[in-house]
């Protein structure tokens, strides 16, 4: 790829020639084919299609950003991958090569960071992280102390493990939520606008930390990151998938082949942001 903002302008998100086998689970970490998801209408009459015949495949170790207007069902997609929502119909519904419908336990390999920290206020930050460890049961208890020490350290919270959420700032709460996910060393990280509630300075700092956390592993985790913020998408993503409003379809895909950290005053970054702005305006009907 010579051009930095090489656009794969295609209706399907599937690479034309999927790589043979890159991990034990198969060619893709997440594979959705022909997925239809319906939400009941608020008045109870009939249903509202959120996804109709939707396809998506995510390669192992990739950082995929889902970009789209709010309410188009980006978070819903993460909820499907995490097994929290079951689609009405799907030809393929695989995570790490295993079918979610017959093997729901595979979602223990996914860890979720939500839009808000969602910490239990009666537990310390450490207690909150342990809550997730005890739930997912992926890491043996013997490793907990070491893992928590490491990841609390990476986000600079080692001295605050025994504080209650109300005693620390919103940014620190969100950091703890990130630790709660990372400490499980999940194969797949699901992130739903995790920085949108934070002030810009904290958000920028956390984005850098996220990239650092993600790139430091020899075998990178697969990240699916939802946002409606174009510059955030370009700063983080290797692959940016643009979704249309309901029923959501993939209207554009952008491969960002730039080194980290990326800055918005870099003209290559700016060019991609412009492309995405145009796409969102023309294809998704959103003025940005």
């Amino acid at each position: 790829m010579t051009e930095p903002g090489h656009a794969v302008d295609t209706a399907t998100a599937l690479p034309a020639d999927p790589p043979e086998t890159t991990s034990a689970g198969g060619p893709f970490d997440v594979e959705l084919r022909n997925v239809t998801l319906l939400f009941p209408r608020p008045d109870g009459k009939g249903t509202l299609p959120v996804y109709e015949n939707f396809d998506l495949a995510v390669e192992p170790g990739s950082f995929t950003v889902l970009l789209g207007p709010s309410g188009c069902g980006k978070s819903t997609l993460l909820n499907i991958v995490d097994g929290l929502l079951a689609p009405a119909q799907a030809d393929t519904l695989k995570v790490l090569g295993r079918d979610l419908r017959t093997d729901p336990d595979v979602t223990r390999q996914c860890a979720y960071v939500f839009q808000n920290a969602r910490l239990l206020k009666w537990k310390t930050l450490r207690g909150n992280v342990e809550f997730g460890l005890r739930g997912l049961k992926v890491q043996p208890k013997a490793r907990w102390a070491e893992l928590m020490d490491r990841y609390f350290g990476v986000v600079g919270l080692r001295d605050f493990m025994d504080y209650y959420p109300h005693q620390v700032s919103g940014g620190m709460q969100q950091r703890a939520a990130i630790v709660r996910a990372f400490v499980n060393e999940p194969r797949i990280l699901l992130m739903d606008e995790p920085f949108s509630h934070l002030d810009e300075i904290t958000a920028a700092e956390l984005r850098r930390e996220l990239v650092r956390l993600w790139t430091q592993d020899a075998q990178r985790r697969t990240v699916m990151f939802v946002t409606h913020d174009i510059s955030e998408a370009v700063q983080l993503g290797q692959r940016i998938i643009v979704l249309t409003p309901r029923p959501a379809t993939i209207c554009h895909e952008e491969i960002v082949d730039l080194p980290y950290p990326r800055f918005s005053n870099d003209e290559r970054v700016f060019a991609i942001e412009q492309t995405l702005r145009t796409v969102l305006a023309e294809r998704a009907g959103v003025q940005v």
Partner: protein, 276 residues
């Protein structure tokens, strides 16, 4: 110089106490004047008559056996009914608050239980179980449990759905979810219904003891009523007030303060550890 803040705080606290005691003094004054005017201390006891009865109760010697045995019997019944109601009510309440079909199933039954007067339960259970300790305990449990269920179910319904979703996402099992998410969230609801259940229980226990039993404060009250001595009855009422007040202040107050320590200071005052 002006006064230091600490003594001033104390002064307001004393003033508040003094103000709160005024209505009690006024009430005792009116009572005293009225009973003096009526001039039949046996039926309309004056404060000194009641004070004498209180002293009699405190001495432990009573016409129908040790007053302390009667107090102990009553408190035992109250404690058992209270604990059973709290445990059973919390368990059913959580279930009813989280599982809609359970709530629909028990909703009407709850209202029936809440509406039936205590004395009806006493007679029903007296026929069923005979004259025994079971009667007042069962009657009170039947009355207090629905109240706890309603309160706890209300709380369980209000558990924020984003926390429940977070727990689902982290594949948190039912036991862990109950112990680490629902119960701590419900602690304020449970303590407040415990407080109300106790306050209600201490009023009801005497009523449930009036029928058939030969021990308890209810028995004492009935005894003095049949002899038309009102002084001791008023004195026993005061004993119940004091017991209720002491338990509320010494048990429930500290518990309520303790369990909400993670809530943080009120009115925006932050602990020194808060850092941006």
């Amino acid at each position: 110089m002006t006064a230091a803040p600490l003594p001033r705080y104390r002064a307001t606290r004393w003033r508040r106490f003094a103000v709160s005691i005024v209505p009690i003094l006024v009430a005792v004054g009116i009572w005293w004047v009225l009973t003096l005017l009526l001039d039949r201390p046996r039926v309309y006891p004056t404060p000194p008559v009641v004070a004498e009865a209180l002293a009699q109760i405190a001495s432990g010697e009573g016409e129908v056996g040790s007053t302390y045995v009667h107090i102990a019997a009553t408190l035992f019944r109250l404690a058992v009914a209270f604990l059973v109601s709290l445990v059973v009510g919390t368990a059913i309440g959580i279930l009813a608050g989280r599982v809609r079909i359970v709530f629909s199933l028990i909703e009407n039954v709850l209202w029936v239980f809440l509406a039936v007067p205590s004395i009806v339960w006493v007679f029903l259970f007296a026929v069923a179980f005979g004259i025994s300790n079971v009667v007042p305990i069962a009657a009170m449990t039947a009355l207090l449990t629905p109240m706890v269920i309603v309160n706890v179910a209300e709380g369980a319904k209000s558990v924020p759905s984003d926390l429940v979703e977070m727990a689902r996402s982290y594949k948190v099992g039912r036991l862990q979810r109950t112990v680490e998410l629902f119960l701590p969230y419900l602690v304020p609801y449970i303590t407040s219904s415990a407080r109300t259940a106790f306050a209600l229980g201490i009023k009801l226990v005497v009523v449930t003891e009036v029928v058939g039993l030969a021990t308890g404060i209810g028995y004492e009250v009935k005894y003095w009523y049949t002899r038309l001595f009102m002084g001791p009855i008023v004195a026993w009422g005061i004993v119940m007030i004091v017991i209720g007040l002491v338990v509320d202040r010494l048990v429930f107050g500290p518990i309520e303060r303790r369990v909400s320590r993670w809530k943080g200071p009120e009115r925006g005052v932050q602990i020194a550890g808060r850092i941006e």
